[in-house]
């Protein structure tokens, strides 16, 4: 059986949907961060797959994915650092509770 483009896209789409759902519904910042990673990774998959199927001679999509993974790692590190600091201050990582800086 040949693997078609669609077979990659659909899981990626489902992954992205889960990410969005999780990002919107979760109140825990860690969970939101995980959802964010999900979305990011689904996008990475798309990049790779489109590159592979549509422009096999070129490698920009691959590079870009690698780049994004690296950025995501850094971003996660920063986010986790913030979350930990917020937790230290507020004893809480629920985003509905952390409204001190609003307005």
């Amino acid at each position: 059986m040949d693997l078609t483009l669609l077979m990659y896209i659909v899981p990626s789409l489902i992954m992205f949907g889960c990410g969005v759902y999780g990002f919107i519904t979760r109140k825990n910042m860690i969970a939101m961060l995980i959802s964010l990673e999900l979305m990011l990774n689904s996008v990475d998959i798309n990049f790779v797959v489109f590159n592979r199927y549509l422009f096999p001679a070129q490698h920009e999509g691959m590079f870009f994915t690698l780049f994004a993974i690296a950025i995501a790692a850094a971003e996660t590190a920063v986010a986790i650092a913030i979350i930990i600091n917020v937790y230290r201050l507020a004893k809480n990582v629920d985003i509905n509770q952390i409204t001190k800086m609003k307005f």
């Binding site: 969005v20 990002f23 919107i24 519904t25 939101m32 985003i95 509905n96 409204t99 800086m101 609003k102 307005f103």
Partner: protein, 660 residues
Amino acid sequence: MPLSSTIYVLAIPFFMFLFLGLVGVKMPRKITGVIGVLGMAVTTVWAYAIAFTYFFGNGEGQMLDGVRQQIVTTDWTWLSFYADKLVVRLGVLLDPISAMMLIVISTVSFMVHLYSLGYMSDHDGNPEKGFQRYYADLALFTFSMLGLVVSTNIFQMFIFFEMVGVSSYLLIGFYYGQQPANHASKKAFIVTRLADLFFLIGILILSFYTETFDFKEIMGANGHDVCNAFTSAQGLTFMGCSVTGWALTFIFIGGAGKSAMYPLHIWLPDAMEGPTPVSALIHAATMVVAGVFLVARMFPLYVLEQGAMDIICVVGAFTAFYAAAVACTQSDIKRALAFSTISQIAFMMTSLAVSSAKGELIGGHEAGLGYMASMFHLFTHAMFKALLFLCAGAIIHAVHSNENSKMHGLHKYMPITSIAFLIGCLAIAGIPPFAGFFSKDEILVACYEKGIGWGLWMSMVAGMTAFYMFRIYYLIFFWKKHEVHGEHKPKDQPWTMTVPLIVLALISCVAGFVPFGKLVTWDGVQLETHLNLPVACASVGIALIGIGLATVMYWKENPLPDKLATMFKGLWTASYKRFYMDELYQFITHKIIFQGISKPIAWFDRTIIDGFFNLLGNVTNSASFGIRKMQSGNVQGYVSYYIIGAVLLAAITGIVILFV
């Protein structure tokens, strides 16, 4: 005295106004008063010199072919609306009526200046406040009035109309601390301003067609030669009447306001709140004749516009009767005199209006007789009415009241005043040989020439004049014994007040013999006048009847007047209340203008227009409060909006791609 120096007759009072107003207020009262009187004395002498030079001198250009010429001695371009046409000049125009007015104004004004030294020196025993201001205002008024009569153009006339209006406002409101004076001055100004509005509209219409304000250019030299622009504009009609008719009627309304013609007379009785010498000067002798003077000045135009003349005639005749009827019942002597003034001025107006310069219109009789009579009456009336007012002032000064119920029987205490007042009454009633007889006789002749109806009507009013004047006289000086209150006995006044009375009384005795027809006519051509015996006899007879009636009713205390008053209660009350004209005006101004127009407009402004802009502000405000919720800072919310938006956008794009 060269005629070119006429300008100084105006300049002196103006300078006195500035001097007394700016410097005089810091000086002692006595000195200010004396300076004021001296200044006025110089003005008077100068004015007399000018007038005599004009009438009897034989300088170049004064008389041409037996026609007395109009002479412009000063001409200064003050304001040019257009570079070439419609230029307002301030200048001095000497002609018979302005020269005559110079005499009238300066004489009365000088008398009043002198009289005021005594009258205004104290106010119920205290030194009068604002004595210096009073003299400054008097000087301003004199200046304005002199400027008015020597106007070379209609716009200058308008300017000085406004100026006399303001100085009259200041003088009526002299006792500004008292509410009645305050209201009266306001009323006088606003009513005359309303009339001036019509005057202005009239000027606008007239100048639109003639393209000039200048009297000489409009009416030609001596009024003989009315310009073509005017005569051709007579052909144009607006709402059924000729445009010039409209213009002249509007201008007449302007004059009617100053001259207190019905229904614009209501300010004059109230104006008696001012000091009595002021009433004598402004509201009896000079300013109130400004309207008559205006019509006389533009007489050559009015002659061409018979419709406007008819309006003046009707208004004048009605006012004469109306004011006489009211004067018969007034208890305040100054008010009674005020109504008498209105009535007499209406005589002058009517006389002008019945006069016709074109001989053929009245069957070849003396043309322009009414004009001459009107000016004659203006002259004599100014003298004897000023006399009457100054007498009234002396009486009021003595008894501290305007009501005749507080007077009675003063003959014993104030003999000089009594005799002077009697002379005034005889003059106004038209008893020979006093001044009023001659002028009134000419007026009646002119009226009879217009039509027997007009003549009879005016004769009747003349009879009423005699009646109400003697009613006042008897009620003041006789009727019953004077009730003396305490130590204070009424007595004749100091010499400063007596001298003017005597001088004016003498003038009233002899003024009738001035050969007026030789001096003052509308076109400068001398007019032969002679006594019309039947008319003269009839009018003297009617006057005697009036006097007789008054003697019966008011000589000695008797119940007859009260009986009559109760018998004709409605009529008497109506007359006493001046036929409810004041109430009518009160209704119009307060109920209609203030409550009916101004209040709703102010409400509309605050509520509707301002409300609209506030609404704009409030809607913006509440809208931004509403959408502020969206900016919650909640990232999850933002993402939701974003997702919803993205899905919608995708859906719309899909639909568009699919179906378009």
